[in-house]
C-alpha cells in the first residue's frame, strides 16, 4: 500500500457521530474479554496448574517415566510430520491444478477439499474402518497380504491426513490465485524447465503461505482425536497418540499424568500459535513492500 494512504486512513480522527455510546463499547469489550477468559485463559492455565500440582519432578516423571506415554509422544511425532508431508504434496498439487488450469470438475474439487472440515472426524475414522477394517471392503485382501492398516500406524496416518487435508490447499489457493501465472510463464519463456520454474520461482512466491498452512496443519494433526480414536483401537504402547493417551490416563483416574500429557499438547499448540503470529507479521511486512 502507498504510505500516504496509510497515513490518511489511520490518522484521521473519528467523528463523534461514528462512535457508539460508551455502554455499548464497554459492554461488548467486557463480554469479549469475559468470554475469552472463561473459555480459553482459565482452562489453559488450569491445564498447566494441574500438570505441575505435584511439582516439576512428578511432572517429568509422569511424562517420561511411563513407557506407554513415551510411546504415545513418539507416535504423535511420527504421525504428524508424515500427515503434514502428504498434505504439502497434495496441497501444492491441488492449488496448482485449481489456480492454473480450467478443467471440468474444478469447482467440485474446490468444494471437496473442504469436505474434511464439514465431516465429523468420527465419521471419517469410521469410513476408513469400513474400507480397510477386517470386515471392510479391502479387509480380506489386505489381511491375506499381511498388510494391516486399521489399528496400526498406516490407519493413524490416513485418518490424520484426511482430517487435515484442507489446511494447506486452503492457504495456497488464494495466494496462487492472486499471484497469477505470469512469473511462472516468464520463467518458462526464459528457458527454465518445470522443476527449475517450481523451485526458483513458484516455491519462493508461495513459501509464506505454505509455511502458514504447514503450521496450522501440524497443530491440527497433533491434536486430532476423533478420527484417530476410531482407527487406532486404543492399544496402549502401540496405537495410542498423545490425545488418545490423555483421554486414557484420565479414564484411569491418573489425573496428574493426564494433565501432564495435556500440558505438553497445549504447549505445542501455544508454540504453534506463536510461530503463526510471527509468520503473519512477516507476511504483512512483505505484502506492504
Amino acid at each position: 500500500m502507498h504510505p500516504e494512504m496509510v497515513r490518511k486512513g489511520g490518522g484521521s480522527p473519528r467523528r463523534a457521530t461514528q462512535e457508539d455510546p460508551a455502554i455499548v463499547r464497554w459492554g461488548l469489550t467486557l463480554l469479549a474479554v469475559g468470554a475469552i477468559s472463561l473459555l480459553i485463559i482459565v482452562p489453559v492455565v488450569q491445564v498447566f496448574y494441574q500438570a505441575f500440582s505435584h511439582g516439576v519432578g512428578a511432572y517429568l516423571e509422569n511424562l517420561f517415566g511411563d513407557r506407554d506415554t513415551r510411546h504415545a509422544i513418539m507416535l504423535t511425532l511420527i504421525v504428524s510430520p508424515i500427515a503434514v508431508l502428504l498434505n504439502v504434496i497434495f496441497g501444492i498439487a491441488a492449488a496448482w491444478a485449481i489456480t492454473r488450469f480450467r478443467f471440468p470438475g474444478r469447482t467440485i474439487l474446490t468444494t471437496l477439499i473442504d469436505l474434511p472440515f464439514a465431516i465429523s472426524p468420527v465419521v471419517a475414522g469410521l469410513m476408513f474402518v469400513l474400507l480397510f477394517g477386517l470386515q471392510g471392503y479391502f479387509g480380506e485382501w489386505l489381511q491375506s497380504h499381511g498388510i494391516q492398516i486399521i489399528f496400526a500406524l498406516p490407519g493413524l496416518i490416513l485418518a490424520t491426513t484426511f482430517v487435515t487435508v484442507p489446511f494447506i490447499a486452503r492457504e495456497l489457493i488464494p495466494v496462487m490465485e492472486s499471484q497469477g501465472a505470469d512469473e511462472d510463464l516468464a520463467a518458462v519463456s526464459l528457458g527454465a524447465n518445470g522443476w527449475q520454474m517450481f523451485w526458483h520461482v513458484t516455491l519462493p512466491n508461495i513459501k509464506w503461505g505454505l509455511l502458514y498452512g504447514i503450521i496450522l496443519c501440524n497443530a491440527r494433526a497433533m491434536g486430532e482425536f476423533g478420527a484417530v480414536s476410531v482407527v487406532s483401537g486404543n492399544i496402549a504402547g502401540q496405537t495410542d497418540t498423545m490425545p488418545l493417551r490423555v483421554e486414557k490416563l484420565f479414564q484411569e483416574y491418573n489425573t496428574p499424568g493426564s494433565f501432564a500429557v495435556a500440558s505438553l499438547l497445549t504447549f505445542l499448540a501455544l508454540a504453534t500459535l506463536l510461530v503463526k503470529v510471527i509468520l503473519e507479521r512477516k507476511t504483512a511486512t512483505i505484502q506492504r513492500d
Binding site: 505470469d182 520463467a187 519463456s189 526464459l190 527454465a192 524447465n193 519462493p204
Partner: protein
C-alpha cells in the same frame, strides 16, 4: 528471424479470440499489433510466444514450424504487461535467471548482466528488489531479462500501458533507439495508436480476432482500409450520403467522385478527420456547410472547435491551427462555414468503393 502466422484459430469457450488469422513479420522489423481490448492482439502475441496453443493453424520461425515447440525452446523474449518480475529476486538475479537456468558460467553471467543493465541504463541498481523500483525501471528490468538470453524474437505485451504519460513518452523513444541498436525482430501489443505510430515501422490493426489492415504507420493513417481503422486511429467526423454519376452528395457537400461513374446511386459514409475540415467566417467557394460554433478549446497544439450544422443535424469536431484560430477570432455562437479538404468514402458495406 522472420515470423509467419498461418490460419490461426483460437477459442476460449464460446468466445472466438482469433479467427483464421494470417500475418507475416519480416526479420528485423518492429511491428505493432494495434487494436481495442478484446481484439485478440494479446492472445496472438502469446500464441507466437508459445504461452498459448492455437486450436488450429501454425506458427513459423524462419520457415520452421514451431507450433508444437515449447516456449523454452523458441528463443523468444517475452515482456509481460505487468512485467512479471521475480519479486523475491534482485535486479541482478532477475536478469541472470535465463542465463543461470542454461548453466552459463558464473563469470559470463556477471559480464552479460552488467552489459544488459548498461544497455537499459540501470547500472547501480543490481541489488534492488522489484518492489524498490519505479514502473519505468521495472519495465527496463523486464526488458533486460528478456534480452539476456539473446532471443531471436522480442515480444512485448502493452509495454507502456502501466506507466504514467511522461515516462511512457521517454520509454517509447528509448525502445525505438534500442531496436535500432540491437535489431532483433520485435512485436509489441498496444491499444494506443499514437504509441504504435511513434514506435513501430509496421502496424497491424486488429479487430474481433482478425487483421483489419497491415502497413506502415503512414499507409495505415493515410489510407485506412475500413471505416473501423479510420475510426480507431483518431477522431473522425462522419457524413452520410450517396454517390452517383461520378458525384458524391454528403449532407450538404457535393463534389466530384470519379470512382463511381455509374448512374445507379449507392449509399455511402464519408469520413473526415478534424484537421481536414476547413473553417471560415465567410461562405466558401466550394460547397460548404453553414454551422454555429458550440464550444472552443484552444488549449493545446491546436484549437478544438465544435460546431453544429443545424440544417443537417450533425455536430462536427474541427482542429484549427492556433494561427488560423487567432486570425478568425472565433467565439461561441459565431456563424461559420465548413468544407472538407479531404473525404474518405466507404460504402455501407464496410469496404472501399
Amino acid at each position: 528471424m522472420s515470423i509467419s502466422v498461418r490460419n490461426i484459430n483460437k477459442r476460449f469457450g464460446n468466445y472466438l479470440a482469433l479467427e483464421n488469422l494470417n500475418l507475416d513479420v519480416p526479420s528485423g522489423s518492429l511491428l505493432a499489433l494495434l487494436g481495442p481490448s478484446g481484439s485478440g492482439k494479446t492472445t496472438l502475441l502469446r500464441i507466437i510466444a508459445g504461452l498459448e496453443t492455437p486450436d488450429s493453424g501454425s506458427i513459423l520461425h524462419d520457415d520452421e514450424d514451431v507450433t508444437q515447440t515449447s516456449p523454452r525452446d523458441r528463443e523468444v523474449g517475452f515482456v509481460f504487461q505487468h512485467y512479471a518480475l521475480f519479486r523475491h529476486m534482485t535486479v541482478f538475479e532477475n536478469v541472470a535467471f535465463g542465463l543461470r537456468v542454461r548453466k552459463t558460467p558464473r563469470a559470463e553471467v556477471k559480464a552479460r548482466v552488467h552489459e544488459l543493465l548498461h544497455l537499459v541504463r540501470l547500472e547501480g541498481l543490481e541489488s534492488r528488489y522489484p518492489s524498490q523500483l519505479s514502473g519505468g525501471q521495472r519495465q527496463r528490468v523486464a526488458l533486460a531479462r528478456a534480452l539476456a538470453v539473446q532471443p531471436r524474437l522480442l515480444l512485448l505485451d502493452e509495454p507502456f500501458g502501466a506507466l504514467d504519460a511522461k515516462v511512457r513518452l521517454e520509454l517509447r523513444q528509448w525502445l525505438r533507439r534500442l531496436h535500432e541498436e540491437i535489431h532483433v525482430t520485435t512485436i509489441f501489443v498496444t491499444h494506443d495508436q499514437e504509441e504504435a505510430f511513434e514506435v513501430a515501422d509496421q502496424v497491424v490493426v486488429m479487430r474481433n480476432g482478425r487483421v483489419e489492415q497491415t502497413g506502415t504507420p503512414q499507409e495505415v493513417f493515410d489510407r485506412p482500409a475500413t471505416p473501423f481503422v479510420m475510426d480507431f486511429l483518431g477522431n473522425v467526423n462522419v457524413f452520410h450520403g450517396r454517390v452517383e454519376n461520378g458525384r458524391a452528395l454528403l449532407g450538404g457537400f457535393e463534389f466530384a467522385y470519379p470512382d463511381h461513374p455509374h448512374p445507379e446511386s449507392c449509399t455511402v459514409s464519408g469520413y473526415v478527420r478534424p484537421h481536414e475540415l476547413h473553417i471560415s467566417t465567410e461562405p466558401l467557394l466550394e460547397s460548404s456547410l453553414a454551422a454555429r460554433v458550440l464550444q472552443i478549446n484552444p488549449a493545446g497544439s491546436v484549437a478544438k472547435v465544435r460546431v453544429s450544422a443545424e440544417d443537417f443535424g450533425v455536430i462536427l469536431n474541427i482542429d484549427v491551427s492556433l494561427e488560423r484560430y487567432a486570425e478568425l477570432g472565433l467565439t461561441v455562437g459565431d456563424r461559420v462555414y465548413v468544407a472538407p479538404k479531404h473525404v474518405r468514402i466507404f460504402s455501407a458495406h464496410d469496404y472501399v468503393i
